[in-house]
Symmetry: D2
Subunit: 358 residues, 4 copies
């Protein structure tokens, strides 16, 4: 257990950073969907390393192969297997760290869990695993778009103390992709870019937040009391590497408000029931209201920095070490497609659940 998510739109991922390959099996994608493979690859290209000065130079094409579940370009309702072969796997560069527990990483805890670990590139804990999620999320995206007109857009909302001003009503992918920071506020983007470069020079790393909006989700998705829509989105987000926090709608800031101003009044907008404000973030009682779903995720600063670190090794000795190799100083730009995938997979699952029982 642990490598699958979803009940009806169900995704199982496999693979380590440096084995033969990794991928996903997507069960439950409805049949008859004409899959746009170029669009799927475009989703993946946003996640892969080597996109520019701000991210790791590790070169991976992240070229997805579809092994099953398609016939004449359409989904057949049977499992869609997605495969990425590992091409640029320099496992030797990890030999220096194979016997020690890197702070901030999962080396120690994987050994505690399994008694064994594949130390190459983080093994299963590698961020590379997220390629499989993004691919599966891309399929979910196409189904949600084609069936419901849903769009999910994420963006970098902050890097360290630098906050962006972005409207969840209007932001679109074009604006997000305009800058390599994936921050659609040009002023903030410029400052973030400078800070990331400066921090890289210092051999240090940064954290920040990603915001996202889902527009067009019909009212009535979500399964209280445990599988509330926001609960499943929260789980999907917290399962992303380095994610340490989640909020929906007014979130933590909403705790400072009074009920009389926090409640979103209902009104009739033509024949649709809407709310005048959206502190709820598009979900009430665990079920979508039809308003935009707005969330934000916190990502800790990247654990692989290049300053000297203290730790212990398997032999029980205190040691110092310093990282080498290829690593992002700031994970935020590449985290955007991950957060989108987390939301997309959750929505696809709940869309099917709502179709089954209503």
């Amino acid at each position: 257990m642990g490598s699958s998510t979803g009940h009806l739109f169900r995704v199982t991922t496999f693979g380590e950073s440096h084995g033969r390959g990794l991928g996903a099996v997507v069960e439950g994608c409805p049949p008859g969907l004409a899959l746009d493979l170029a669009a799927l690859q475009a989703d993946l290209d946003r996640r892969r390393p080597g996109q520019g000065a701000l991210t790791t130079p590790r070169k991976e094409r992240d070229q997805v192969q579809i092994l099953s579940g398609l016939f004449d370009g359409r989904t057949t309702g049977t499992p869609i297997a997605l495969l990425f072969t590992n091409e640029d796997a320099r496992s030797k560069s990890y030999d220096t760290v194979k016997d020690l527990y890197r702070p901030g990483h999962a080396d120690y805890t994987y050994e505690a869990r399994y008694g064994i670990r594949d130390h190459r590139g983080g093994g299963r804990a590698s961020a590379r695993e997220t390629a499989a999620r993004v691919a599966a999320g891309g399929i979910a995206r196409q189904w949600l778009q084609a069936t419901y007109g849903i769009e999910v857009v994420g963006w970098v909302a902050s890097v360290a103390h630098l906050d962006a001003k972005v409207s969840a009503e209007t932001v679109d992918r074009k604006a997000v992709e305009h800058s390599p920071t994936r921050c659609p506020d040009p002023e903030a983007a410029a400052a973030m870019d400078a800070l990331i470069r400066e921090t890289r020079r210092q051999g240090d790393t940064l954290g920040g937040t990603v915001s996202a909006v889902a527009r067009g989700v019909p009212a009535g998705w979500g399964d209280p009391v445990f599988d509330k829509l926001e609960a499943d989105i929260a789980k999907a987000c917290l399962s992303l590497p380095a994610c340490k926090g989640f909020e929906i709608g007014s979130g933590f800031a909403g705790t400072l408000m009074r009920g009389s101003t926090h409640n979103d009044p209902f009104f009739h907008d033509g024949d649709r029931i809407r709310t005048k404000s959206n502190h709820a973030g598009g979900i009430l009682g665990g079920i979508s209201s039809g308003e935009h779903i707005t969330i934000r995720c916190a990502f800790k600063p990247v654990s692989t920095h290049f300053q000297t670190q203290e730790t212990v090794n398997r032999a029980g000795e205190a040691v110092e070490f310093q990282n080498e190799g290829r690593h992002d100083p700031c994970v935020l730009p590449r985290a955007v497609p991950l957060v989108e995938a987390a939301i997309l997979l959750t929505l696809a699952d709940h869309g099917l659940r709502a179709a089954a029982i209503r």
Copy 2:
């Protein structure tokens, strides 16, 4: 789907605010546990309304009945069914709101989901449902305590802008229960108490945050990549009524740090491997490290305030209404046992999962 949680320690809840009763079925509780029914009831008494001036005067004994799964005071490994009968159900007091959609509540979204709703007291969306979780969490608590010596303590960390200073290392239930606010910082507690009373007089309501710590969780619990321990705790917390945010360890504040200071250095503490700091909040890569697990949840201000509100009704008319009846001005003190239950149920499940596959 939606009324069950957990894979091995699995809880299914049922029941509405104003039906015959509500409860839970707990599957997977290991056999042979001597269940302390008084302690279980004590957990429940912390959740129930009518505890004092700060909470709603609705009188419910929340007396739990155990229908199955016990023999001679010990669990048998078979499902433990827990039942609460509804005693003080004045459904008439809800007649005035039965045809309108209360802002901040799930009236509208339940209708969107199911096409029908039990309007009495919020039906399934009632906070009363959480009695079942607290009872199930109480069983989890006893098993975790007896088997691993784990203790989970939650407390009110803030009400509106009032923040408490509390040490996750040392806080215990006695300190928490010292004040009806469930804030173990006496100075903050006094201020919170005053603010709650003042806000009640204004017919308004408050939000805030609950923090919690789990001490004694062994290293090695959690199932990456999707069922990371913090992901499952986040889901459990976000499934609580009114919860809008979650963070673990350094959380959102951690996004302001650099990697060089955020990483927690490992060291040997006798024969145990520990970390010098705990920005991770006790979980690395989705698996417990053996350090304290520290989390915080945001709760929005209570939706049922007593000022005039605008909304629409089923007939499509804009209407104004005002709540009557019995309601908390601040849910935080009663949210403490809910957050604890969310953590306890997640830990019990992952404890069994770790036992199965290692």
Copy 3:
């Protein structure tokens, strides 16, 4: 795990023979169903003991209480909790067997599984648990009937060597209920009745088979490759107490045929595609074809007979014992509603699954 079945129409049962009560929680029953409580009780009355000379005189009303999930007589889409209180629980009559392992019963294996058992009346292994399934199956029956016009009819097809001749095309519940044997072939029914009475006089017990047909199941239900419709029905049947075999369509007898005669030719019956024969039993490749689904289950002779038996006790001694008390000489008539419930629950689940993903 183990006390739940189904993914979307999901049933969790709880309770032992001699605790406070037993019951079920039914999740996923679609909202808006007007539940006929009298019909539900009628389903239950077919299962309960004390129906006549052929069954145990233990008196239980098996009166079902519905605790939740109904509002104004209709299902709300939230969990439906069903409760039976235990009324006629003479646990003392089991004291003579509490320290020994009854052959054919689960005394020994429950101890091996859980290290503890509730010896009263078989505890969780009691056939009384099946009341919960029949009740849940009754809800499934009403939903399947109302939504799809599906009807499921079971009957006693054999007792020991006495076989009945029954047409799966035309048999109905009235014909089944005509005789206390639940065998709709009057001649066979008379012979069975005589054999059961004779065997009871000998202090011995009988086995036999139950056949059942599901008529009106739409083509297209079933989820290959693992959750084939017949696989899930087989599991549901084999989970019934005393069930030792299952076959669908031609079953074991079909292994004697050649492919050229076993294949069911398709033809057009008006605008419907049908098959001329039905050796498949209504399912091809794990998916319903629209033809009648026909199955048969084998039930071993009742383990509680009244002749002297050898066994061992917990102290490690070889002992002899003889049963006392109230027990059926032949479980077959009361097994009919159990087999129906097994089919009904499986169909309800797959009906929802088909609605979700197609």
Copy 4:
């Protein structure tokens, strides 16, 4: 849903007969197992076509690739992905049947389920999918053998009316593999061989039964009431292509016995509690007793025969057709490893379940 099985030892399969490849993801295999790849391939070679005169000449090497989850030859506790590429895929030979519904096949029902189907070679319904199960079952076999000393042996028990005499106590794989019929009774094997050759000459096909025994399963595996061990084995068997029946222990024949002779008396065999007979088939009340688990499965005659058949096509016309190509006249020899895999996967899952909760 439908392409996964198991809760803790969980297998998801993917792939069609004629796509790029098929395979499985095995979650939950405990870490540290030294996987014998040659033994795994040997399991697979028993299933593949082209083994001799009795089976189809289609040439597939069924060479399994392991993509993940292994490090230095040992399992790491992370998902093990298994891949078979499709090599000998002559999809053209299926063009003649692509618009008609072959009797006995799933063409019609897949269209009813999904509205679309990959007609090449049966698509997902192809028996080729079972390679993935056998591979996964092979991993289960190695874990069960290494951890518990469990061995599972299947054999052809009958072909049409020809029955074999085989002792479940002593039969081993060597005896089974001695004949291409996989019947360890030499006399019966010779007769079966002759019958299969004769039937092939007639362009017809045969059915039969496979028996299997699991030896060494500890007492205490199985999760009543729904996940009884025999119920899960039955489901796994009925999910095999062409399987129409299942029985455990005395099965259908046991319905002719009296309780006084069917019950298996317990006795002490040294310090072990055993039964003198084994009509139960090694499972009581859904939980293993420590005795041999004995089951039998019925397989219908192969649907692809070479005589002229009537059917209808998508255009609504009655048509005749005749199969061409490469097909087994009798599936039984190749069904043996499938039945073994069904049992092995179920046992591995329940072994982990028993380890988690006891």
